[in-house]
């Protein structure tokens, strides 16, 4: 069926202790043209790891025996492979530790398969981006114009260090703007980001999300200084970003 040469499908390692979930997830991801190998616990995953050439790991944090966090820690000593964590509801601490260990994203169980797919694709795309240099260690905070974005906790702090809650879409949008500070983000790039988040028409959703974000950043919509509108349909974060 494959007549045209195409890049080999990304190879994903799924680690979950429930056999049904492993098999269903493998079947689901394979239908989306991924190659999937599964492991039922950390021991099996360690055994498979060396000869798999995996591009991404989906890791359940609640594993019997050696826990998911310990495995993630070990994995980080081996490679910078992106990790998407599956966490239990409400277990904030595990999630934060996981993100601090360098996991790239997380979903809490029970998750929607399509959302997992979107996250996997987003992570793979981010890693594949040529201008994205891999970080040696996870970033604790991104400072810009007095504000602080903490990726491990997915939160924004205002200049007085008070948390400013953001919706999921606003957060993703802000991360994208901060990641590419002083570079214009086209509408298409933003559309890509918001897809799957909003139920409404995407075009309008971007303007709405930007205006909400400006309001929360206390950036006057008419004379916006922080998130500037670029003629021709794009936005740019006009601020120096420092990473710590």
């Amino acid at each position: 069926m494959d007549q045209t040469p195409s890049p080999p499908p990304p190879h994903i390692l799924v680690i979950d202790d429930d056999r049904e979930i492993r098999d269903l997830l493998a079947k689901f991801l394979e239908r989306q043209h991924f190659r999937v190998t599964t492991a039922r616990d950390a021991r099996e995953a360690r055994r498979i790891w060396p000869n798999g050439h995996f591009q991404l790991v989906v890791l359940d944090l609640m594993l019997p025996g050696e826990g998911g966090l310990d495995f993630a820690r070990w994995l980080r000593t081996q490679s910078g492979v992106p990790i998407v964590m599956l966490t239990a509801l409400g277990e904030e601490t595990d999630r934060i530790i996981g993100l601090e260990l360098g996991a790239d994203d997380y979903l809490s169980k029970p998750f929607n398969p399509r959302e997992l797919l979107a996250r996997i694709r987003a992570v793979l795309r981010r890693v594949a981006e040529p201008n994205e240099k891999p970080e040696d260690k996870p970033i604790r905070g991104l400072h810009f114009a007095g504000w602080t974005l903490e990726p491990t906790r997915r939160r924004l702090l205002n200049p007085d260090s008070a948390e400013v809650p953001l919706t999921g879409g606003e957060y993703d949008l802000l991360v994208a703007l901060v990641d590419r500070a002083n570079k214009v983000l086209t509408r298409d790039m933003l559309l890509d980001l918001l897809r799957g988040r909003q139920a409404g028409p995407f075009d309008r959703a971007i303007d709405v999300a930007i205006s909400r974000l400006r309001r929360k950043l206390e950036d006057d919509g008419r004379h916006a200084q922080l998130i500037k509108t670029v003629r021709g349909g794009g936005y740019v974060l006009a601020a120096e970003v420092t990473r710590v």
Binding site: D18, E20, I21, L24, L25, K27, F28, A88, L89, G90, E92, T93, K109, P110, F111, N112, P113, R114, R155, N158, D160, S161, A162, E163, V164, P165, L166, T167, G168, G169, E170, R197, Q198, A199, G200, R212, R215, K216, E218
Partner: protein, 476 residues
């Protein structure tokens, strides 16, 4: 609470509201107004009253004693003066006797007169005890036996205000001496009054101090019970103090421990159920992806989302509200905006039904995830049962910030305004599954807000619809 219990409580309210025919008399109403409601106040008043009575009694006894003493001294004084005068007159030559008597006449308001007969004042004869006393006292002054009065007449006494004594001289004439003898008045003494007042005030002060000291454990117990109501993990009472107090504190602590164990068991059970349900729901969601029929698949995913939401709500309710989330500074205005925006993201058709009024920046100290869940529940509740949600953030008044969530629905029956905060209860009108909900939204909201030191209450707005009033304390 059973419906029957609710009805009877309601009936009691009505009977209380009925006008009372007989108005109690004014003095009773005044007394009721003045009567303190606290145990310390009542005990103190009773003790002070009893002490005052006892003290007054003691002082009366003391005064009577003084009275006797005063009278004795007065009698003695009069007797001696009289007999001294008599001696002076009796020793004087016959022709000078009137002069000597007259010379004494001027002193001490008393009068002495030499007369042919005994005193003829129209007053009662002296009481026998007083008379005996006077005779005895008069014998104290030495005098030759022949010179002593031949006859003696005693008239009057303290009741008459004066004492009249007639003493017959050896020449047959009478020396009649009138001495003032006022009623002793011990109550007139200023020192007495000051002493009485001073002692009363001191006794009252000591009583109030002692009672407050003794009653303090009761107030501590009440505070502990209140704290336990807000937080099951409130620290135990110190089991010290008087025996009864220590016993009560120990009993209270045992009860608190039992409640804690019960809550822990329930929490553990709910968490276990919640955790166990996650795996099958995840499997079902994956399986749904393999369904051929797009419409059926979409419906199934909606069902599964609802199921997941219920599990999540159950877990949130079962978990200790304080959880492991830290209290941080958070912009409450942005949090409310986020709640509304996320609701719109999930249900775009609700956009026009959700409004926010208030500042864009107001910092409180809170657990953001828990607080967001509480406010989300209130907004969803208003939207589901009241058609819309108008959120108002009022600038802080004192140390409290208020958030109002208004809707335009049918409101809530008055007798159920507080019941809706009970877990798994849904009002009769909304028991159908159309509107969804777990019956945990409002209880979770109340748990979260109370754990923050605030609260949420519901009432019906006069212009229609219900209003949820959220209060949150501001950092000091």
């Amino acid at each position: 609470m059973t419906p029957g219990a609710v009805r009877s409580a309601h009936d009691n309210d009505l009977s209380d509201a009925r006008p009372v025919d007989a108005v109690p008399p004014l003095w009773r109403r005044v007394l009721r107004r003045l009567w303190p409601r606290s145990l310390a106040g009542q005990t103190a008043i009773l003790l002070v009253m009893a002490l005052t009575v006892v003290q007054a009694g003691g002082l009366v006894i003391h005064a009577m004693d003084r009275l006797d003493l005063q009278r004795l001294a007065q009698t003695h004084d009069i007797a001696l003066r009289t007999i001294t005068l008599y001696r002076a007159v009796a020793m004087a030559p016959l022709e000078q006797r009137a002069e000597v008597a007259h010379a004494f006449d001027v002193s001490n308001d008393s009068s002495a007169r030499l007369a042919a007969g005994p005193p003829a004042d129209r007053i009662e004869p002296t009481a026998p005890p007083l008379e005996r006393q006077l005779r005895a006292d008069m014998l104290l002054v030495p005098m030759p036996m022949a010179q002593r009065p031949h006859d003696e007449v005693f008239l009057g006494g303290p009741e008459a205000g004066r004492l009249v004594m007639g003493l017959q001289l050896s020449d047959g004439r009478w020396l009649n001496i009138t001495s003032p003898m006022p009623q002793p008045r011990p109550w007139d003494s200023t020192t007495f009054l000051i002493a009485f007042l001073g002692m009363t005030v001191a006794a009252a002060g000591l009583t109030v101090w002692a009672v407050r000291r003794l009653i303090r454990p009761v107030a501590t117990l009440a505070a502990a019970a209140d704290a336990l109501g807000r937080d099951v993990n409130a620290p135990p009472l110190p089991e010290t103090g008087p025996l009864e107090v220590a016993t009560a504190a120990a009993a209270f602590n045992t009860m608190a421990a039992r409640i804690r164990r019960f809550v822990d068991d329930r929490t553990f059970m709910l968490s276990a159920i919640g955790h166990d349900l996650r795996t099958p729901i995840t499997r079902l969601k994956l399986r749904a992806e393999f369904m051929e029929d797009d419409e059926e698949r979409a419906k199934m995913l909606v069902d599964l989302d609802e199921l997941a939401a219920m599990v999540s709500a159950t877990l949130a309710f079962g978990r200790d509200v304080a959880g492991d989330e830290a209290v941080v500074a958070v912009n409450l205005a942005a949090l409310i905006r986020t709640v509304l925006d996320e609701t719109v993201d999930a249900r775009p058709e609700a956009e026009a039904l959700l409004t926010y009024a208030g500042p864009e920046q107001l910092t409180v100290r809170a657990r953001p995830v828990a607080l967001k869940r509480a406010l989300t529940n209130l907004v969803h509740n208003a939207l589901n049962y009241g058609r819309c949600a108008h959120v108002t953030l009022t600038p802080p008044l004192g140390r409290v910030v208020t958030v109002l969530v208004d809707d335009e629905g049918p409101g809530i029956p008055v007798d159920q305004l507080d019941q809706v905060f009970q877990p798994f209860l849904r009002l009769e009108g909304s028991r159908n599954r159309e509107t969804g909900g777990t019956g945990l939204g409002l209880p979770i909201a109340r748990n979260v807000l109370r754990a923050h030191g605030g609260d949420v209450t519901l009432r019906n707005r006069p212009e229609g619809g219900a209003r949820a009033t959220v209060t949150l304390p501001l950092p000091a």
